[in-house]
Subunit: 496 residues, 2 copies
C-alpha cells in the first residue's frame, strides 16, 4: 500500500493523523463519541436547495432518456467526451454574460484562503475585489464552453470534422423553483470543422429518432440568423438587429401586439414595423414562405446565403420523409443573443405547456475566445429534466416493471441457505436479477411482504420438502400462483 | 416559453439583460467583441490541477468497468441511487476527520458573499471564523455520507434490508500527483438493515464476478474488527486497540520489524508484542488459523462473536467454490480508524504494485450522527481509476475496436447525397453506427484519410456508377479490399 488508500475503496476516515502522531478521532466513526455528538447536534439532515436525490425508479427512467439520446448520437457517429465538474474561473467567466457570471458556483481555495486577499478590500467587504483572490475554480455552467476549451487544448489531435456528445450535469446558482434546479443534466452533441448543411440535416434526423423513441410529439422550429439579418436589412433597420431579435423572440409570450409595441419603442417607424409584421405573417408551406422571402431578398440585393442554407436543409428533410417530427420554418424564432450565426433550432412539445425541450444552432466561431479562431460547427442540446417531466405527465413508452429484481429467494431456515446460494448462482449466471433474503429467522409472511413492498414479481421458497426433492416453489406475487419447479424450469420461467 | 429557457437546450447567453432594459453583450458570443477580447486576453485555456478530460476511448473503457460493476450489483438486487454533487457543509463537516475537513471543496455563497461575514474576523484574515459565513455547501467527499444522509431522510419509505449502489464522482482537495486526482469515481454498494453474514458472502461473490469479468487476478483480504478486539484483549492491551490496529495495518509498508518497533514504542511489553506476533504468524489454511484463534479465545473467555462471523462467511464461501478469487483471512488487515465494527475487506491485485483496489466492511451505526441510531449494514467500494490503470497495464479483456463508428459514407459528389442519406437511414435502423462525410467537395483521398485517422473500419463509396446500379462500393480500410454490394448485403456485411 503505497498510499493512504484514500482514493480507493477507503470509505471515510484515514490514518494520517495517527501517522503524524496526533490522533484524530473522527466523531462519526467512533461509537461512543458519535453518541455524544448526536446529543449535542441532533440535526435533521437536508439537501441543499435546488438539488435532488434520485431513487432507483428515477435513475432508471432518467437513464432511459439518456440512453435513447446517446444511442441516437452514437448511431450518427458522435463520440463521447467527459470533462471535469470544475473548470478554472478564467475558462468560465465572461462567457455567459453578466447574469451568467453571477450564476456561477465558485469554489473556495483550499487551506488559508484569506492569506493572499487584499486587506483593504476585506475590511471594505468588497466581495468583487476579494473574489479573484479566494476562488480560482468554478462548477461548469454548461457543456459548450468546456467543449470549446477541449477543442482548443486538443486541436492538434482532433480529426476534423469532429463529432462529440457529452451528457453530464451542469450547475447554476439560479433561484430554485418548480422545474428549475441548481444541478441538472444537459445532453449535448456538436460537430465542428465543417460548414456543410448535412450536419443540420443529421441533427434533424436525430431529433426525429429521439422523439419517436421517447414517444413525445415534437415540433421543430427552425430559422437562420442570416435570414434574420436579411429581414432587418429589408426593413432598413439593421442597426437594431439584436433588439429586433429579442423582441420577436417574445412572440409566444407577449403576443403580436406586445412585440409591435416593443418594436415601436425601439424607434422603428410604423412602416418598418408593419413591413416586419408582413414578413412574419407570411403564409403557406415552409418552401412557399422561403421562396417568397427569396424573391424579396433578391429584389433588394440582400445576401441570399441564409435562404440557400435553409433551402438545402428543407429539401433534404422533405426527401427523408420524417413523418413523426413536424418541421416548421419559423421566422419568429430568433434565440436571442447568442453565439449562433446560421441555422437555429428550437423544439417544443405542443401537447405540453413546458417551454422548449431542446435547442441548438450553427456558430462560426466557437473557440475564438480561447485563441483558436474560425472553428465553425453546429450543435444541439436536450434538457433531461423537461423530457422527464413530459414523460411523467403523458406516460412512458416502455415498461420499467422488469428492470428491477425479478426474484427473491426465501429459504425457510438456515439449512436451506446453501441450496439457495447454489440456485442463485445459476439464476444470476442466466442474467436474472435475483436477491437472497438474508435473515432466515424472520417469519415467512414478513419475507413475502418484503418482496411485495419492493415490487419483486417472484418469490422462490425453499423449505425442507423442496430441498429433499431438489425443487423450488416459485410464487408469483401478483396472482398468488405457486409452482414446484426444477432449477432449470425456474430459470426458464423467470426469463419468459 | 414560460422561462428564459436557461435550463433547456439554451446554450450560452440569455436575454435577461435585455428584458430589464440593460443590454448585456457577452463578449464570447458577439463576433466583433470576441475578436477584441481575444487580442486583450489571448490566454491558453487549461484544466484545473488534478482534473482530467476523458476522450472517447477513455470514456468507452471507463464505461466498461462501470458497467461490469453495475451489472454485478444489479444481478445481486442492488438498486441505483444518485445524490447531488453538492451537499450542505453541515452534512459533510466532521465526518472525515480533521484532515478530511481540510480536503473538502467548499462552494462560495452566491452574490455578496461577504455581507454577513464578521468584520473583525475579516480584518484579522481569520479564515476559520469567516468560513461558515461565506460557504454553506461543499462537493461530496465520498458516497457513504451522502448515502447515510439519504437513508435518514427517507427512513420511512425504505424497505429493509435496503440495497443501494451508487457510481458517481467525488471530489477531494488532495495534492494532485500520479494516480491521485481531485475528481475521481467511486463505485459503492451497501446493504443496510440486516446483520446477516450472507451480505458479506454476497459481496465476496460480487468481487469474484467483477474481477473475473475484468480479467484481473485479485486477492481478497478479510478480517473482522471483533477479532482484532479479541486479539488486543488476549495480549491484555485492549486500551491500545486503535494504535495497535494502526501499527499492524502498516505491515506491508514497514515490515514486521517496523511494526514491532512501533508496538514497543506504544508501551507494550516485549512479551505482549511477541504474543501478538505469534498470532499474526499463525500458519495453515484460513479455517485452521481461525480454529486455532477460536481455541485461544475460548481458553480466556474472550467473546467469540467475530470468530463465529468469520467462520460462517468462510464456510459458505468454500461451498460456493469461487475459484478465481483468492480469499485470505488476514489478521494483519485492520483498515485503521474507521466506522467498521465487524467484517473488513480489502482487495489487492498481486500482479500490480498499485495498492488496494477495493475495500469495505460492516458497520453498526451508519446514520447515528444524523439522528437515526442502529442502522447497521455492510458495504464495499471500487475505485474506478486504479482498475483502469491495471487494465491499461495488463490489457483489456474485450475488444473495443467495434464500439465506434463502423462505416462512413463518402458520396463522390452532391448528386450522391440523397442516396447516401437513404442508405444511412437503413444502416442505422439496423443499429449500426454510421457517419456521413459532410463535405462532398473534399477529394476522395482526404475523405478516406479521415476514415483511417478515426479508426473507422469501412468506407462506403457512392459514385455515379453505384447510384445508377443501385449498389454501394464497400471498402475495408485495413485490407484495401473492395466489394460492390446491394444495400441489404452491405447491412449484413457490416453486422458480421
Amino acid at each position: 500500500m503505497e498510499d493512504r488508500g484514500l482514493q480507493v475503496g477507503e470509505r471515510g476516515a484515514n490514518l494520517e493523523g495517527h501517522r503524524k502522531g496526533k490522533p484524530t478521532y473522527p466523531a462519526y466513526f467512533c461509537g461512543r463519541t458519535a453518541k455524544m455528538v448526536r446529543l449535542l447536534m441532533n440535526v435533521k439532515p437536508a439537501l441543499p436547495k435546488g438539488t435532488r436525490d434520485f431513487n432507483a425508479e428515477q435513475v432508471v427512467k432518467r437513464n432511459f432518456i439518456r440512453d435513447t439520446i446517446v444511442g441516437a448520437y452514437e448511431r450518427f457517429g458522435f463520440e463521447p467526451l467527459e470533462t471535469p465538474a470544475m473548470e478554472l474561473l478564467s475558462t468560465l467567466t465572461g462567457k455567459y454574460g453578466t447574469e451568467g457570471d453571477q450564476l456561477l458556483f465558485r469554489i473556495l481555495k483550499s487551506g488559508d484562503f484569506l492569506r493572499s486577499a487584499d486587506a483593504t478590500a476585506l475590511s471594505k467587504k468588497d466581495a468583487r475585489a476579494v473574489l479573484p483572490e479566494i476562488a480560482e475554480k468554478g462548477l461548469r455552467y454548461d457543456l459548450t464552453v468546456p467543449f470549446a476549451r477541449y477543442v482548443v487544448m486538443n486541436q492538434h489531435n482532433l480529426t476534423m470534422p469532429f463529432r462529440r456528445y457529452q451528457v453530464q450535469p451542469v450547475w447554476r446558482a439560479d433561484r430554485p423553483q418548480k422545474g428549475r434546479y441548481q444541478e441538472f443534466w444537459q445532453c449535448d452533441a456538436d460537430v465542428v470543422g465543417t460548414n456543410s448543411m448535412l450536419s443540420e440535416v443529421e441533427f434533424i434526423q436525430i431529433y426525429h429518432e429521439v422523439f419517436q423513441k421517447l414517444g413525445i410529439k415534437a415540433k421543430l422550429r427552425i430559422n437562420n440568423r442570416k435570414i434574420l439579418h436579411g429581414m432587418a436589412s429589408l426593413i432598413k433597420a439593421h442597426e437594431f438587429f439584436v433588439p429586433i431579435c429579442t423582441a420577436i423572440d417574445k412572440m409566444d409570450k407577449i403576443g403580436a401586439e406586445g412585440v409591435r409595441e416593443e418594436l415601436l419603442k425601439l424607434g422603428l417607424s410604423t412602416e418598418q414595423v408593419t413591413q416586419l409584421e408582413q414578413l412574419l405573417a407570411l403564409e403557406g408551406s415552409n418552401m412557399m414562405r422561403l421562396n417568397e422571402l427569396a424573391d424579396r431578398f433578391a429584389s433588394t440585393w440582400i445576401d441570399p446565403k441564409g435562404i440557400e442554407e435553409m433551402w438545402e436543409i428543407l429539401s433534404y428533410i422533405s426527401q427523408l420523409g420524417l413523418e413523426s417530427l413536424e418541421v416548421q420554418f419559423d421566422l419568429s424564432l430568433a434565440r436571442g443573443l447568442s453565439y449562433y450565426t446560421g441555422t437555429i433550432f428550437e423544439v417544443v412539445a405542443p401537447d405540453h405547456a413546458i417551454g422548449s425541450i431542446s435547442g441548438g444552432g450553427r456558430y462560426d466561431d466557437l473557440t475564438g475566445i480561447f485563441g483558436l479562431p474560425d472553428v465553425s460547427g453546429v450543435g444541439i442540446s436536450f434538457g433531461l429534466e423537461r423530457l422527464f417531466d413530459i414523460l411523467e405527465e403523458q406516460g412512458w413508452p416502455v415498461d420499467f416493471s422488469r428492470t428491477g429484481t425479478r426474484v427473491v429467494f426465501l429459504p425457510f431456515e438456515a439449512q436451506g441457505i446453501p441450496r439457495a446460494l447454489e440456485c442463485l448462482q445459476q439464476v444470476r449466471a442466466a442474467g436474472i436479477k435475483a436477491e437472497l433474503f438474508p435473515d432466515v429467522d424472520v417469519k415467512m409472511g414478513k419475507k413475502v411482504k418484503y418482496a411485495d413492498k419492493r415490487g419483486i414479481p417472484f418469490a422462490a421458497v425453499l423449505g425442507s420438502d423442496e430441498i429433499a426433492a431438489g425443487t423450488i416453489t416459485l410464487k408469483e406475487l401478483a396472482t398468488g400462483n405457486q409452482e414446484r419447479l426444477s432449477l432449470d424450469e425456474l430459470v426458464k420461467r423467470l426469463l419468459a
